[in-house]
Amino acid sequence: MSAAPLLEAVPLLQVEGLSCRFGGLLALNNVSLAVRQGEIFGLIGPNGAGKTTLFNVISALTPPSSGRVLWRGALIPASRPDQLSRLGLARTFQNLRLFDSLSVRDNVLVGLHRFAASPLAAGLLGSAGERRRQRQLEQRALELLALVALEDEADLPAASLPYGERRRLELARALATEPQLLLLDEPAAGMNPAEKNDLCGLIRTIRDRFDLTVMIIEHHVPLMMRLCDRLAVLNFGERIALGSPAAVRQDPRVIEAYLGSAR
């Protein structure tokens, strides 16, 4: 293996030779990429290219057939989604997975689960310290809701929110876990152009404010070109391009496989 330049920092997340086979279908074929600390990294490709599968492998929901995922240069010492969450990984889902019977506020409070740890007995008896902690958590939940402009809906059941607000709530819930890497699976799906624009701004804001690294899947290519620092393009489970938006745009394989066929 060639010596890596010493000055370049270790990437936050590395995916090496990842393959994923479902029966006869090769959903991911030897995919490798690295996501650097602090960047917004886009993942584009036609439907069925394996983008969501890649997210699922990274977040330990789907075991890979071969290959490995490195976190800060080391093998991840965890195999369950909840352990990964504690490590600093959060995600949203393409088909939105909120806790529908809970209130908007409680959805975010569930995201704060890790920070609410207290002995069950102290909690049940409601000691003074416990009550103060509870208030702090609720305060934190409200701040996060304010960030995604949902503070007025805090007491509504999550199931009652319209589509776009549900997407923002899922984002707030993911942020509540205080991630270092945030995986967003089609966060702009079903939004109108103005909402998409707002979302772009919001993603940049949270990246800066929370010192985040963001990995994002989105179909709207112009939006991705504007938003992302770097992009990877998947097609039929293979990574066919990787680089800056400008470079990817001019890559002949991308034009042929993705942009060409999509037009």
Partner: protein
């Protein structure tokens, strides 16, 4: 001679479990729900059979002393009892399952409402026929001898009959499922009801069919067990029903060959429990069930359980 007798005991018991479990499986595969009234329909089948062969109601129920004007031969009474049980199963589908299905309710609710239907049936039987046990006299079988000599051993005719009829029904069911249009349509509904509907299959009709067949199977096996070991009161189907759950999970929920295999294994295992341990016999099925759940949750012949992301 012991061995032959034990083997036959095990096989016939296993065949009954398999028939019972298949009734669960048919409904489970189309609805994804365990029909907890199944044991009560089994019991009902036994009582129907008893009445149809001309048996007299005991002294403790509302029907005290009642006797049907005709006494049918067993060969006719059994299928008729099966049909009557099928009608009851259809009625249960109508009142306990369909309203919930049409509303798209949680399948847990159907479990409860089907149980309510079972409670009603069992207590209705008790109200009408009393809590006493009934024996179906062996004379019902006409000129057949009570025991046969087989490979140098004495075996009860009833058990040979029980085994033969169960195996015949299991075979018919397999042929129907694999070899006919309606059988395949039922399988399609169990794979994916929405797609099946789009392909022009009448899902509701198939669900009714599944209930009807499972009711028929329950009724017939009830009659057969009643003939073999007598009807021990309105609650006698429940323990069979519970063990059949074990059979079901052992073989794999929703798998027809699995239900048969599971029935065979548990029936044989119970038959070979030594007499001095007979008190523990009832635990055999559940022990197996526990073991299989730990080692292979999808059952022997079931498909792996996956989660969708």
């Amino acid at each position: 001679m012991e061995l032959i007798q034990l083997l036959l005991n095990g096989l016939s018991l296993g065949a009954v479990y398999a028939l019972f479990a298949l009734g669960y499986t048919l409904v489970f595969s189309v609805l994804g729900v365990i029909n907890f009234s199944h044991g009560a329909v089994f019991t009902l089948g036994a009582y129907f059979t008893y009445l149809l062969i001309g048996g007299q109601a005991g002294a403790n129920g509302l029907l005290a002393g009642l006797q049907l004007p005709v006494a049918l031969p067993f060969a006719l009474a059994l299928p008729l009892a099966g049909l009557a049980s099928a009608l009851v199963a259809l009625l249960i589908e109508r009142v306990a399952f369909r309203p919930l299905r049409q509303r798209g309710s949680d399948s847990l609710l159907a479990l409860i409402s089907s149980l309510g239907a079972g409670v009603i049936l069992v207590n209705l039987i008790q109200l009408l026929m009393g809590a006493e046990s009934y024996a179906i006299p062996i004379g019902t079988l006409g000129s057949l001898p009570a025991a046969l000599r087989f490979a140098g051993a004495q075996v009860r005719t009833v058990q040979v009959l029980l085994l033969a009829i169960s195996v015949l029904l299991l075979l018919l069911l397999s042929v129907w499922l694999e070899g006919t249009r309606s059988g395949k349509a039922l399988q399609a509904v169990s794979e994916d009801p929405v797609t099946a509907q789009l392909l022009g299959i009448d899902s509701d009709g198939m669900i009714r069919l599944a209930f009807g067949i499972s009711g028929f199977l329950a009724g017939v096996s009830g009659g057969l067990v009643g003939l073999s070991v007598s009807i021990a009161g309105p609650y006698f189907g429940i323990s069979y029903g519970l063990k059949a759950l074990g059979v079901l999970v052992l073989g794999g929920l929703g798998s027809v060959p699995g239900a048969m295999l599971g029935g065979l294994i548990i029936g044989l295992a119970e038959a070979f429990v030594p007499a001095e341990w007979s008190g523990w016999k009832d635990a055999v099925a559940y022990g197996f069930l526990f073991l299989i759940l730990v080692l292979r949750p999808q059952g022997l012949l079931g498909r792996p359980l996956g989660t969708k992301v």
